[in-house]
C-alpha cells in the first residue's frame, strides 16, 4: 500500500505512465502559449529570412535563396550595429557589475539597523525602461540637463556638452543610463552571495592574519564566483536584447552611433518594411545568442 503511494508521488520509473499523462495536462497550457508566441514565430522568421519580402512591394515577394544573408556581409550598418552591441553590452555589464560589487560590499559592512537602505538602492531596477530613457535624455540634455550643470560647476568640463548629439558622447550617456538601471540587480545578487559565506571561514582568515584585501581575494571572491558568472551572463543576454532605453534616449543616433542590433532590426522591419532582410539579421542574431545561452545553461548545470 505505502509503496504504491510512494511511487505515485515520486513517480519513479514504474509510475511513469500515469504521471506522464498528468504532466502533459499540467504543462500543456504553458507550452501552448509559449509555442504560439515564441516557437512558431521563430521558425516562421527563419523561413521568412530566405524570402525577398517587402511590405511596400508585395508583388516582388519571392524566394530569394541566401540573398538576404549575402547582402548582410556587404551591409556596413549591420557591422556597425554588431560592433556597437558588443561594445555597449560589455561596457554596461562590466561597469554595472563593478558598481554593484562595491555597493554590496559597502552595505555588508554597515550596521544592521541601516539595512533598509538596501531597499532604496534597489528602486532604479524596477523603474520602467522608457522612464529611464526619458529621464536620462532630460538629464543629459545640452541646455537644461543637470549633468552638464554639475560637471561645469565642478570644473570637469569648460562648456556644456551636447551629449546626445555627438557620436562619441552618446554611447557614454546610453551606458550611464543602463548602469544606473542595472547596478542594483548585481548588488542584490552579490549581497545574497555574501550572506552565504560561512562566518567561520571569514573568522579563520582574520585569525590567520589575512588583511582585508587578502580576505577579499582569497575568501570572498572565490565564494562569489558562481553568482558573478551567472548574473553577468544573464545580463549580457539581457543587454544584447535591450530596446526601450536606447530607443527613447537616442533612437539609435546620432547617425548610427548607438544603433545596436535590436534597434537596427526594428528599423529595418517596422520602418523600412524589409521583413525578409530584417528576419535574416534576426536569425543571425539568434544564432549568436544561442552560443551565449549554451555557455549560460552549461554554467548553470555545473553550479546547481
Amino acid at each position: 500500500m505505502w509503496g504504491r503511494f510512494k511511487n505515485t508521488v515520486l513517480s519513479t520509473e514504474n509510475g511513469e505512465d500515469n504521471s506522464t499523462k498528468l504532466a502533459a495536462l499540467l504543462i500543456a497550457p504553458a507550452l501552448a502559449v509559449m509555442g504560439f508566441i515564441i516557437v512558431y514565430p521563430l521558425l516562421e522568421a527563419l523561413w521568412l529570412s530566405f524570402f525577398n519580402y517587402q511590405l511596400t512591394k508585395p508583388d516582388e515577394y519571392a524566394f530569394a535563396m541566401a540573398q538576404n544573408y549575402g547582402h548582410m556581409l556587404k551591409d556596413d550598418v549591420f557591422w556597425i550595429a554588431l560592433k556597437n552591441t558588443v561594445f555597449f553590452t560589455f561596457a554596461t555589464v562590466f561597469i554595472g557589475l563593478l558598481l554593484g560589487l562595491l555597493m554590496a560590499l559597502a552595505i555588508d559592512h554597515i550596521a544592521e539597523r541601516f539595512a533598509s537602505i538596501r531597499g532604496l538602492i534597489l528602486i532604479p531596477w524596477v523603474v520602467p525602461g522608457i522612464v529611464v530613457g526619458y529621464l536620462f535624455m532630460y538629464m543629459f540634455d545640452v541646455e537644461v540637463g543637470i549633468i552638464n550643470y554639475f560637471l561645469l560647476k565642478a570644473n570637469i568640463i569648460s562648456k556644456y556638452l551636447p551629449w546626445l548629439m555627438k557620436e562619441d558622447l552618446s554611447m557614454i550617456a546610453v551606458i550611464a543610463a543602463h548602469v544606473w538601471n542595472q547596478a542594483p540587480f548585481y548588488m542584490l545578487m552579490i549581497t545574497a552571495g555574501l550572506k552565504a559565506i560561512p562566518d567561520d571561514v571569514k573568522e579563520a582568515a582574520y585569525m590567520e592574519g589575512a588583511s582585508r584585501w587578502e580576505e577579499f581575494c582569497h575568501v570572498t571572491l572565490p565564494y562569489l564566483k558562481g553568482i558573478l558568472v551567472i548574473s553577468s551572463l544573464l545580463m549580457i543576454i539581457r543587454n544584447f536584447n535591450n530596446f526601450p532605453i536606447i530607443w527613447t534616449m537616442t533612437g539609435g543616433g546620432p547617425v548610427y552611433a548607438t544603433t545596436t542590433s535590436v534597434i537596427y532590426i526594428y528599423r529595418e522591419a517596422f520602418e523600412q518594411y524589409n521583413l525578409g532582410y530584417a528576419s535574416a539579421v534576426g536569425v543571425v542574431w539568434v544564432a549568436i545568442l544561442l552560443i551565449v545561452s549554451v555557455v549560460y545553461v552549461r554554467s548553470l548545470q555545473k553550479d546547481f
Binding site: 508521488v9 499540467l26 521563430l42 559592512h109 532604496l120 534597489l122 520602467p128 529621464l135 530596446f243 532590426i265
Partner: protein
C-alpha cells in the same frame, strides 16, 4: 564569532561609498519628481533650482487634458498587466508543479528549452508575430497583448515556482494521499499554501514585465485608444512635444509610481524569490 574591528578611517570610507551610492541612486528619481512639479518657465532656468520655487501640479493636470489620452493608456496598462499576472501565475504554477514533482520523458529538455526561450530577442519574433496577429485578428486587442506578455514572463515564473515546490517536502503530499487526497487535491491543499511567497514573487515579476514592456504594444497595437503607457508616452512626447520636460517627467512619475509601490510593498518576496536559487551555488 571574532570579528575584524572597524577603525574610524575604515567606517568613514564605507560611509563615503554609501553616501555616493545613495546620491547616485536617488538623485535622478528626485530630479524627476522635482521637475514634474515645476512650471515650464522654471525648467528652462539657467540656474536650476533643486526644489521648485512654486510647486504646482499643473503638469499632472495637463496629462489628463492634452491631445493624447494618457488616462486611457493608464487603464489599458492596468488591465493588461493584471490579467497577465493572473494568467502567468496560473500557468506557471501548474507547469512548475509537474516539472518539480513528476518524472516523465523530456522533463529535462522542457526545462532547458523553457530557459533558452527567455534569451530570444523579442524583436525577431515580432516580425512573424505581427503577421500572425493580423491573420488572427489579435492586433489592437487586450487578449493579444496579454498572451504576448504572458509568454515572455512564463519561463522565469516556471523556474522560480519549480524551485519553490522543490523545497516542499514530498512526505507532506504522501501523507495527504494516504489520507485519501487525490493528486490535484494534495497540490491545492498541501503545496499551494506553502509556496505563497513564490507565487507572490512570480506575480510581481509578471506585473513588472507587462507594465514595463514597450516593444510588444509598440508593434502589436496601432489604435491609439488601445495603447498602454510605454508606447503612449512615445506618442505623447516624441517629436514636437519633446521639450515639454515638466510634462514628460510628470508622465514618467505616473508610469513609475505603481511599480515602485508594488515593489516596496512586496519587496521581501521578490528579493527572497530571486536570490533563493542563486545562493545555493
Amino acid at each position: 564569532m571574532i570579528r575584524r574591528g572597524f577603525s574610524l578611517l575604515w567606517s568613514t570610507f564605507i560611509w563615503v561609498i554609501m553616501i555616493f551610492t545613495l546620491l547616485w541612486t536617488l538623485f535622478p528619481m528626485y530630479w524627476m519628481l522635482s521637475t514634474s512639479l515645476k512650471d515650464n518657465l522654471e525648467v528652462f532656468n539657467v540656474n536650476p533650482s533643486l526644489w521648485p520655487n512654486a510647486p504646482t501640479l499643473a503638469s499632472y493636470v495637463n496629462l489628463g487634458e492634452g491631445l493624447t489620452p494618457i488616462p486611457t493608456f493608464f487603464m489599458n496598462s492596468v488591465i493588461t498587466s493584471v490579467f497577465t499576472v493572473v494568467l502567468a501565475v496560473s500557468l506557471a504554477v501548474l507547469a512548475g508543479y509537474a516539472l518539480s514533482r513528476l518524472r516523465f520523458r523530456f522533463r529535462k529538455t522542457i526545462l532547458m528549452g523553457v530557459l533558452v526561450t527567455q534569451m530570444f530577442p523579442l524583436v525577431v519574433l515580432l516580425i512573424p508575430l505581427y503577421l500572425v496577429y493580423v491573420k488572427a485578428h489579435l492586433l489592437n486587442s487586450y487578449i493579444g497583448l496579454i498572451l504576448a506578455f504572458t509568454s515572455f514572463t512564463l519561463p522565469f515564473g516556471i523556474w522560480m515556482l519549480k524551485g519553490f515546490i522543490d523545497s516542499v517536502p514530498v512526505e507532506i503530499e504522501e501523507a495527504a494521499m494516504v489520507d485519501g487526497c487525490s493528486r490535484l487535491q494534495s497540490m491545492r491543499l498541501m503545496v499551494f499554501p506553502l509556496i505563497v511567497p513564490g507565487i507572490v514573487a512570480t506575480g510581481v515579476f509578471a506585473f513588472l514585465d507587462a507594465w514595463n514592456n514597450l516593444l510588444f504594444p509598440l508593434v502589436l497595437v496601432n489604435d491609439v485608444l488601445m495603447k498602454t503607457l510605454p508606447p503612449g508616452m512615445i506618442l505623447a512626447f516624441g517629436g514636437e512635444f519633446k521639450h515639454d520636460w515638466s510634462g514628460m517627467m510628470a508622465a514618467s512619475c505616473l508610469v513609475s509610481i505603481p511599480v515602485i509601490i508594488v515593489f516596496i510593498v512586496l519587496q521581501r518576496y521578490l528579493v527572497d524569490g530571486l536570490t533563493k536559487g542563486a545562493v545555493k551555488g
